[in-house]
Structure formats: structure tokens, C-alpha cells
């Protein structure tokens, strides 16, 4: 079968998210159901979910979700993992086989911590150590693909319609305070399991509806910092940009949004002197990370979620609130499916991030 990058297919996608600011548990079934009303935005070539707070029993450990093409790939990858990590628990991810989901790879889950001595010898901080291991597996070990690598969170994705993917992974058996979802309608590449959304590295996960025209410019820049875009699909690069700007450069999420969806110079020129200086700094210093073309994205991270549209707002996105609950989706109907009666519903402006966080989170951003 042709994989990403070998074929170009001329598209829509659907995204949906739910977040409990009070940290209450939401079943994965809720987010899966929200996707059913946007069925026609996908074409069955990719669906996926990211849940946060779903592994409380292992919340201090990195949860690796890995696709294997073969038992041999698994053997090779496990050998690699054993050399770098203490593996506290490993198992197949439970699935519910169905006619709707075909050609499943081997899907395994590992709860790991970096091996103490190896980590110390590497002179890297823990997250960088883990990120490099993930990138190494994905680029060097044939037939192994780590698609989720954060703590107390997990990505579940496949080729299929999102609601079928949710049933396949038995999402009703997981509970978390935050969920994002994606239904894929691939535009440039054929759908395969690794190419489904969300794309995740460490705690960051991205679902994306759109098409990034700056992909190659962004890729060339980000690959200078050790990231490798292995999937030739545009969403992957956004995940690395976020990881780079937030984890490595310590930008706030608001600043990150101003880099990837930078305001026009004409808009900047109308701001106050201080704001003008700040925005000009961000646009100039990170000019290669401006993401152009239509997008609406949801970024999941530990304790929060960010929704962002491109600055021209070329994709639809609606946000809503009800008490401590936050909802966001490509279409209002997906939100109403989750909660028919809302306190507030609005369409965020292009380039203006909507950021929600857990109430009791130590807020180092502000």
C-alpha cells in the first residue's frame, strides 16, 4: 500500500473537544458520540482521540502507545526500550474487533520511566531524553511507531470513521478530564494508522482540520532542532512546533499562538507601542514558524486545552461553556450532542486562542 507522501489526494475534517475545569471524569464515550453528528466531514480514512487524566494509577510514568507492523518489529523495539527505560507494565491495548476497522497493526502499551543511570549519563533532562527516544524509534526502527508518549494521557487512533475508532478502542472504559477528537478526510496523502490524528509528543497532542501551505518552510526550520518529520503530513509539524516553542523556548501558549497565527503587520501597526514591540519580536524571531493556510486546531496538554483558528479563519470552529465544562467543535451540532443546553456559545476570532485549564492547576503560564 502507498503511504503518506507517495500519493496526493485532493478535501474536510472534523474536530471536537471537551474539558472539565473542575477535573471531573468524562467517559471517552461522550467525545466519541459527539463525532457521530459530523460523520460526513470524514471519509473513513482516519479517526482518533486523545484523553487526559486517563491513567491515574500510573500517572508518574510515561505511557507509550506503539503500533507494530510485525512481531519481529515488537521484539526489536522492546529490546530498545529495555535499554533505555524501566518498564513497569506492558500489555496489548484492549480492542473490540469489528468489520469497520480493518488491517489493524499490533497495538501495545507500555508504562515506563527512563533508566536512572542511562538518563544521568545522557546529560539530558528527562523530557528531552524521552522525546529523543520516541523520535529515534519512529525514524530508525522499521515497523515500530510510537503514537503516544505522555504521562497520564493517551492517544487512540486508527483508519476508520471516528465513532468506529472509539468503539474499537473501547473508549467507554476510559475516563479523563479532557478529550479531543478528530475525523479525517485526508487531502494530500492516503490514510494510514500512523497518519491519523491526534499527533502527539510527550504530553502535547494536536488534532487539526485544514491544510498547511507553509509545511515545508516549517519542517526545514524545526528539523534543525532534532525533530524529524517522518509522516509527510502537515499536522505532525504543528506538534513539534508547539513542543519546541512551549517546552524548549518557554513561550506561553498565548505567545505560541501569536507565532503560529501571527497577526498581519497592518493589524500590529494599530496596537499600543508595548504590544507592537512584543508582537514584532515574536513575528521576527520565529518567522519560520508562522503557519499559513487554513487550520483549526485543538492542542491538548497536561491540565489544559487550547483551541486556535488560522488568522483568516478559513475553517469553522465553535466554542461553548456550561458551568465548569468547556466544549469546542468544528460544528455547533457536535457540542449540542454533548450538551443540549449551554450557558454560552461563540465563534472565536481567527488567530485568537481559547485556553482552558484545570482550576486547581499550579499556573506557571501567567
Amino acid at each position: 500500500m502507498n503511504k503518506e507522501g507517495q500519493v496526493r489526494i485532493p478535501s474536510g475534517c472534523a474536530i471536537s473537544g471537551i474539558f472539565a475545569k473542575d477535573g471531573r471524569n468524562i467517559s471517552g464515550e461522550v467525545i466519541s458520540n459527539s463525532m457521530t453528528v459530523m460523520h460526513d466531514r470524514s471519509n473513513g480514512l482516519g479517526g482518533g482521540f486523545a484523553g487526559y487524566g486517563i491513567y491515574p494509577q500510573y500517572k508518574e510514568l510515561y505511557a507509550f502507545h506503539i503500533f507494530y507492523d510485525s512481531a519481529r518489529a515488537r521484539e526489536e523495539c522492546e529490546k530498545y526500550l529495555e535499554g533505555k527505560f524501566e518498564i513497569a507494565n506492558m500489555s496489548k491495548i484492549p480492542v473490540r474487533p469489528s468489520d469497520a476497522i480493518k488491517d489493524a497493526p499490533l497495538i501495545w502499551r507500555y508504562f515506563v520511566l527512563p533508566n536512572h543511570n542511562t538518563l544521568a549519563d545522557s546529560l539530558l533532562d528527562e523530557k528531552e531524553y524521552v522525546a529523543r527516544a520516541v523520535i529515534e524509534i519512529n525514524t530508525k526502527l522499521q515497523g515500530s511507531y510510537v503514537f503516544s508518549s505522555g504521562k497520564n494521557m493517551g492517544v487512540f487512533k486508527a483508519v476508520g470513521f471516528p465513532e468506529d475508532v472509539g468503539a474499537f478502542y473501547r473508549l467507554e472504559e476510559y475516563e479523563g478530564y479532557s478529550w479531543t477528537a478528530h475525523g479525517r478526510y485526508p487531502t494530500n496523502t492516503p490514510g494510514w494508522w500512523g497518519g491519523a490524528h491526534p499527533f502527539a509528543l510527550l504530553e502535547y497532542s494536536i488534532v487539526h482540520n485544514g491544510e498547511i501551505s507553509s509545511y515545508d518552510a516549517n519542517r526545514r526550520f524545526i528539523e534543525m532542532f532534532g525533530y524529524k518529520c517522518t509522516l509527510l503530513t502537515d499536522t505532525e509539524v504543528i506538534t513539534y512546533i508547539i513542543d519546541y516553542l512551549v517546552r524548549k523556548c518557554n513561550l506561553t501558549l498565548e505567545e505560541t499562538a501569536k507565532v503560529i497565527a501571527a497577526p498581519f503587520w497592518s493589524t500590529i501597526s494599530k496596537k499600543s507601542e508595548e504590544e507592537k514591540r512584543h508582537l514584532t519580536y515574536l513575528r521576527t524571531n520565529f518567522s519560520s514558524l508562522l503557519v499559513t493556510g487554513p487550520f483549526s486546531i485543538l492542542l491538548g496538554f497536561e491540565g489544559g486545552m487550547m483551541a486556535l483558528n488560522d488568522r483568516l479563519k478559513l475553517r469553522s470552529m465553535v466554542a461553548a461553556e456550561k458551568g465548569k465544562m468547556f466544549y469546542v467543535a468544528s460544528e455547533e451540532c457536535a457540542i449540542r450532542q454533548m450538551e443540549p443546553s449551554l450557558d454560552k456559545i461563540w465563534s472565536p476570532m481567527g488567530g485568537q486562542p481559547v485556553i482552558v485549564k484545570l482550576d486547581n492547576l499550579d499556573n506557571k503560564e501567567d
Binding site: 457521530t36 453528528v37 459530523m38 460526513d40 493589524t267 483568516l312 479563519k313 469553522s316 465553535v318 460544528e331 455547533e332 451540532c333 457536535a334 449540542r336 450532542q337 456559545i345 465563534s347 476570532m349 481567527g350
Partner: protein
């Protein structure tokens, strides 16, 4: 009048029921089904719930009443008839609209009235009661867009870049728009009597549909945006 409970019904099935029904019809529990009322004439369709994308696309004379919000591209390429929304509209309301009237009680999204056009007796009109997003009237070629700015807490009712690519038709804005940034090909000035004569009819309808105070609405200040010549972009790409 016949009633349909939409719920999770597929949009094809729902639209077949609407098409097959000769008289007026009411849809309850609508949850994002697309293309409702597409191409319909000679009936009134009442939608309770959220109407999906492109409600009233190619509408040809039917009246669609929505008790709720509409998603993107309501009235896409509609020819005639009315869409009356007791709520908000998503992006691109009145997309490439060629005739008929759309009334949005509250606010509308980005690119309201994009590519609207008029021809002879076909004169499309969109009335937005609250505010709207950026790129209002983008590439507008004809017809009338009215933004009333009612119920806004502060600021202007239009976002950035109104009238981008506008080359025909008219936008009327209620409120103080002195100094609003518009493209060089678009002229911004106060309305004249002739403008308001045409607009009054639509504003009256808006007030009747949604119970607004007509006298109070008309007492506001009105500005207009129009292309500043008959061929404002003649030298944009090549001399023609």
C-alpha cells in the same frame, strides 16, 4: 402541517422527507443536518434546533424559519425566498446569494455576504441584527448587507477587513463608523435618503420578525460602504 423529528436522522433522509412534503413542514430536534430545504419553493419550513451547513442552499422561494442557530453557509447560492434565524449564524452566511432575504436576529460569523451578486430583479439582502466577524461582504458584487449592531456591549459591529475585494452592491452599518479602515477601492460615507428608503423596508421586516423597536433602530446613525468606481480593480493584475 407535518412534523419530523430529526434527532440523529441522516441528512439525505431528512431532505427527502422535506422535498416529498407538498405543504408546510416542521422539523424538531434538528442536530446539524445539512442542506435543509435546498432548492425548495412554495412552502414554509420551520426548524427547531441547530440547522446544519448550507441550510436553504439554492432556495427558490420557500420560507425557512429557524428557532435556533444556523451553522456555516446558510442560504448558499439562494435564488429567492426567506431565511429567518432566531439566533446566530456561522461563517459565510449568504454565500454567493443571488436573490431573496436572510434575517439573522443576533450575530453572524466571518465572511458574511461573501460573493453576493444581483441581476435585474434579483436583489439579495442580508440583515444581521448584532455584529459579525471579519471580511464582511468579501468580493461582494451586488445586493445589500445591513448590520445593525444591536445589543453589543461595546465596539463596532464589524471585524477586520470589511469590504475586501468588494466591487458592487452596498453595505449599510448602523452606528458611528467614522474612520473605519476600508480598502482603497471602497468608499465609506454617511447614508443618504435613497439608501435608507431601500433599507427601511428590510429593517422593518427585521423588527417585525424579532420584535425590535423600529423607531429606535431607525433613529441610529447609518454609514454605507460602496465600491468607489464601476471597475475598482482594473489595474490589480493587468490593465484591462
Amino acid at each position: 402541517m407535518n412534523t419530523i423529528n430529526a434527532g440523529n436522522m441522516n441528512y439525505c433522509e431528512l431532505n427527502e422527507l422535506v422535498r416529498g412534503n407538498a405543504g408546510d413542514i416542521e422539523i424538531n430536534g434538528c442536530l446539524g443536518q445539512r442542506y435543509i430545504g435546498a432548492g425548495q419553493n412554495g412552502k414554509t419550513i420551520t426548524i427547531n434546533g441547530v440547522a446544519g451547513n448550507a441550510v436553504g442552499a439554492y432556495l427558490d422561494g420557500a420560507v425557512i424559519n429557524v428557532n435556533g442557530n444556523v451553522q456555516d453557509a446558510a442560504g448558499d447560492t439562494m435564488n429567492a425566498g426567506k431565511i429567518i434565524v432566531h439566533g446566530n449564524a456561522g461563517d459565510a452566511v449568504g454565500y454567493a446569494m443571488r436573490g431573496g432575504e436572510i434575517y439573522i436576529r443576533d450575530s453572524a460569523g466571518y465572511r458574511s455576504g461573501i460573493h453576493m451578486k444581483a441581476y435585474k430583479d434579483n436583489f439579495p439582502t442580508v440583515v444581521i441584527g448584532g455584529g459579525c466577524g471579519s471580511f464582511l461582504g468579501e468580493y461582494q458584487a451586488g445586493g445589500l448587507i445591513i448590520v445593525l449592531g444591536l445589543g453589543l456591549e461595546s465596539g463596532r459591529a464589524v471585524g477586520n477587513f470589511p469590504g475586501t475585494g468588494m466591487h458592487g452592491g452596498k453595505i449599510i452599518l448602523r452606528g458611528d463608523y467614522a474612520g473605519l479602515e476600508v480598502p482603497p477601492q471602497v468608499k465609506l460615507d454617511r447614508t443618504c435618503e435613497g439608501d435608507m428608503e431601500t433599507a427601511a423596508k428590510y429593517i422593518k421586516s427585521y423588527c417585525d420578525y424579532f420584535g425590535a423597536d423600529y423607531a429606535a433602530v431607525m433613529a441610529g446613525e447609518f454609514w454605507r460602504m460602496t465600491p468607489n468606481s464601476t471597475n475598482p480593480y482594473k489595474q490589480l493584475y493587468v490593465q484591462n
